[in-house]
Symmetry: C2
Subunit: 224 residues, 2 copies
DNA sequence: ACCTGAACACCGTTCAAGT
DNA sequence: ACCTGAACACCGTTCAAGT
């Protein structure tokens, strides 16, 4: 009886792995990494916390599945871009991952946390093929692909961390200009360089900056 | 009376912020990220969990202090290297951070988690000065320094994650060769590139590979 | 000023019991 | 087969009470 009531609340939809992962993503997007708890998830799905464990082994597996789903969506978008050069392909994949992390900041944390899983492999494969197409010598392909992917990972975790901060601050622009103010006020001797970077920090565009880094690495790859 | 007994156990040493941070680092090194709890820390320091809060605001501040201490030690080592070229300086700083993360895997997670704090600033400053010395044009300095630091961050979080995995596996070599075997067995169409990278993955040296990535970026920076 | 240790409000996960 | 919901073994953090 009580069961039936519960099921009715979720409109007869059975609890499935897919619906659980989808709800987890919604929760992560809305509340951030800390927002995903089995109790909150259970409430959202009108069920008990324990029920989720029948479909998903544990929290790690749930996060892995969420990551995989979001990344594969981003990469299949990138697939449709119809790039004409390998350089463009690298940029498309990179921007795809960047935008996915922008839309789902928890993804940055997640990718940095479990680099060996399937989402990471897909990214590595896509980048690697483009590197091959760039006619990078066999021996340099590993380093080239890894450098690109590691850079993407670094920016991703930065963005995830920044998103956590911005949550506290009112918005991103304000956050950047506050940080820039801190940089500008640093000790003139100890932080001579960083001080001069306050203005670029305040005015930069994250996405453009990210792509500039990709281009820098591509230039290094192309160099004999 | 009971107080006196406690104090005697820790040999009369007062509980200080420094001793707490040092104990936290030991715990993190020995047990990993999950090993640092206020209860474990209190036991190690022969005190109560609540006592720690008189010296440290919360867990985040504690992790920040631990990160700062380890990074500044690594960077001051790098300072003593007596590099002759800016390229060498970049490599020395990069390797210093790499080795610090190698010795303290939790550091990789931590740096990726809170990029705006003081440890990250010190790294950025060191790299930035070297970039300036490379005579990179003003407008490109921000991108150049950020790209290097983000790459270092990406590798760092990878290494932290790998260290977590290796804990489960017997040792690193075994872990790499197992992962390589998985790569080699991937679908021939879907993972054409990654399959060919199984051998490089198995045989590569982390440190050398990391430096090769730094050199790649440096080559891109030097390119007109 | 500094410390104690119980208590609070959470977690992930398990599992007997239900349908 | 699938779900419930109480229970277990943890967390970080607070705080009245002690010295």
């Amino acid at each position: 009886m009580v069961n039936q009531a519960r099921r009715a609340e979720r409109r007869g939809e059975a609890l499935t792995r897919e619906s659980i992962v989808a709800a987890a993503i919604e929760l992560l997007d809305l509340e951030g990494d800390a927002g995903l708890t089995f109790r909150a998830l259970a409430t959202k799905l009108s069920t008990g916390a324990g029920a989720i464990y029948w479909h998903v082994a544990n929290k790690e597996e749930l996060l892995l599945a969420a990551t995989e789903l979001v990344v594969s969506a981003a990469l299949s978008n990138a697939d449709d871009a119809g790039d004409t050069t390998p350089r463009e392909t690298v940029r498309t994949i990179a921007v795809g991952v960047f935008d996915a992390i922008d839309a789902h900041p928890w993804l940055g944390t997640q990718l940095a946390r479990a680099p060996s899983h399937s989402a990471m492999l897909s990214i590595f494969e896509g980048i690697g093929r483009a590197v091959q197409a760039l006619e990078v010598p066999q021996a340099a392909q590993f380093t080239s692909a890894m450098t690109l992917v590691n850079y993407m990972l670094g920016v991703g975790s930065q963005n995830a961390a920044n998103a956590r901060m911005v949550d506290a601050a009112a918005d991103r622009r304000e956050f950047l200009s506050k940080t820039a103010a801190v940089w500008a006020a640093l000790d003139a001797d100890e932080y001579a360089f960083t001080r001069t970077m306050a203005a670029p920090l305040r005015d930069h565009d994250d996405r453009a900056e990210f792509l500039a880094g990709i281009d820098l690495i591509l230039a290094g790859i192309a160099r004999p």
